[in-house]
Amino acid sequence: MQEVKYSRYPIEWLFPVLILVFLFTAFPVGYAIWNSLHQILLVLPVTPFVGLKNYKEVLTSPYFKEALLNTLIFTVTTAPATVVISLGVARLLLTKFFGRTVLRPVVLLPWAIPGSVAGILWLWIFHGQWGLLNGFLLKFGIIENYIPWLDNSRLAKFSVSVAHIWTQVPFASILLMAALTTISQEVYDAAAVDGAGPLRRLFSITLPQIKVMLIITLIYECIMGLTTYDTVYSMTAGGPGGATTLLSYFIWAEAFKLLNFGTGAALGVIMALITFVLIMAILKAIPSDILVKE
């Protein structure tokens, strides 16, 4: 074994990445905080300091409360659902069967599709007037009349969640697949000898063994749920009413539709804080030696 010898900080290797990360992470975060304390209207040249007024305005707005509630419900339903489905998909992709080589890359497809395009696809499936789902249901005689999937606020929430889960399953599946491959077959063999059934093996071996990755995936999916944007944008544009307006869409609308950059930034800071807490949770969950050894 060679002794531990530290080199000096290899800045010449890292600077291109670090510059980008600094320019577009540290700086924007600082800038957002500054913005959130000022009144910024594009039509006016002055940006007076207004203290916490933007925050107050945002936090007391009924639209914000609706968006926040929507986002929370959206996140606590889609994140666990994504993890459960992805675990199933991951397990399936590790099973040997005819056609697996074809199925594997196809699973990646929902991730490779631009989110806005995925939104349009699901819009077509759920569309109230000429949606495919309605068409099929009618053809097979399950329904008499078309169901207004995207015009009823409850159904719209459901439809958007389905589309979101669809876009999230590939990445979560890869993470969980990677975790599943680390469990050695011997453990399962031993359990089978001891007479453990499939359910018992799932709860006593599989889940405990991949617990860390499950938690990481779950938190990651929470972040995705909190910050998702494009699929909803092209599917419902936040409607009907504000039923599917999520925080990130709300921020975008506030800043780029109403051109209210100050409150937009305040919203951004609030959201970054929520996300930051979740990121810290991920860091806590990751065993410190999994990524980089010092």
Binding site: F24, G99, V102, G268, A272
Partner: protein
């Protein structure tokens, strides 16, 4: 019992397969079925002859005959659909540049993380990887203002920069996993012969890992190709619009013929499918899953 299990697995595989690929098949159908049949109620999707008119319009500008015959329908043809080939070019140029930057800067940083011991390594690494998780919409306002201050609004440079930032963490993560798996012997031999670290990197590591680096670059290409939010706010005119933005604009345009939209989406999805296959084969199976089998 064995047979039942086999049937179940294949059934599940089929479900997952169609869950993931059906949008592709649906858009293929949607793009060749005339609107009149597509929008009929009750649905009669296959009552009319399939048509390539939408594709002809998008690529060649030939107005579909159905719209010439009935003057009232003329409004359903929109110039925006004609932008698809151009924005496809934009997307390709942007994503290729992002891929280049990722391969160049990402491989250097990844190599440093894989091979050099230095203080602050984990902190730097986690900083780079985790910044990707900050919500895009929260940083959207400062990004816009920074790019505006640099005078780069509505240029491809700005989009390439931001996409590089978004994809570099993934590239660094994947490539550092990959570099660590290359046997160190060759590099050590070169060092003994008096090569500097940079020479070792460019003369030995790079040629050895060219294929994987291109694959990881394609992964960045895929993410850039599908990114939407920043492309939307940073690109103003048709000059810089990427495909995902053009498609979202098309979908919110109430004038557009549905079949036209589907034809456009199908064109968008073909590269996605090819990318998904390549990325799965070389990145997911080759690097991510393989790395954890040790």
């Amino acid at each position: 019992m064995k047979v039942a299990k086999k049937i179940l697995i294949h059934f599940l595989a089929l479900v997952v397969f169609f869950f993931c690929i059906s949008p592709l098949l649906l858009t293929l159908l949607g793009g060749i079925i005339p609107d009149a049949a597509l929008l009929s109620y009750p649905p009669k999707w296959f009552s009319m002859k399939p048509t390539l008119a939408y594709y002809k319009y998008i690529f060649l500008g030939i107005v579909p005959q159905a719209y010439e015959e009935r003057g009232a329908m003329r409004g359903m043809i929109t110039q925006e659909a004609r932008q698809i080939p151009h924005s496809m070019m934009n997307s390709a140029i942007t994503a290729l540049s992002v891929m280049g930057i990722n391969i160049l800067c990402g491989s250097m940083a990844a190599y440093a993380f894989a091979r050099i011991r230095f203080r602050g390594k984990s902190a730097t690494f986690l900083g780079i990887v985790m910044c990707r998780l900050l919500p895009a919409s929260a940083l959207a306002v400062p990004f816009y203002l920074i790019v505006q201050a640099m005078g780069l609004l509505d240029t491809k440079v700005a989009i390439v920069m931001v996409h590089s930032l978004l994809t570099l963490p993934f590239t660094v993560l994947i490539l550092s996993v990959f570099f660590r798996r290359i046997p160190i012997d060759l590099e050590e031999a070169a060092t003994v012969d008096g090569a500097s670290r940079m020479q070792v990197f460019t003369k030995i590591t790079l040629p050895l890992s060219a294929a994987s680096m291109v694959a990881t670059g394609l992964f960045a290409f895929m993410l850039s190709y599908s990114e939407f939010l920043y492309s939307l706010i940073l690109s103003g005119s048709a000059k810089t619009r990427t495909l995902s933005v053009a498609m979202a604009a098309l979908s919110t345009n109430t004038d557009v013929a549905w079949g036209m939209l589907m034809a456009g989406i199908f064109i968008t999805l073909i590269p996605s499918l090819i990318l998904a296959i390549v990325v799965w084969k070389f990145v997911v199976e080759g690097i991510i899953l393989g790395a954890l089998k040790y």
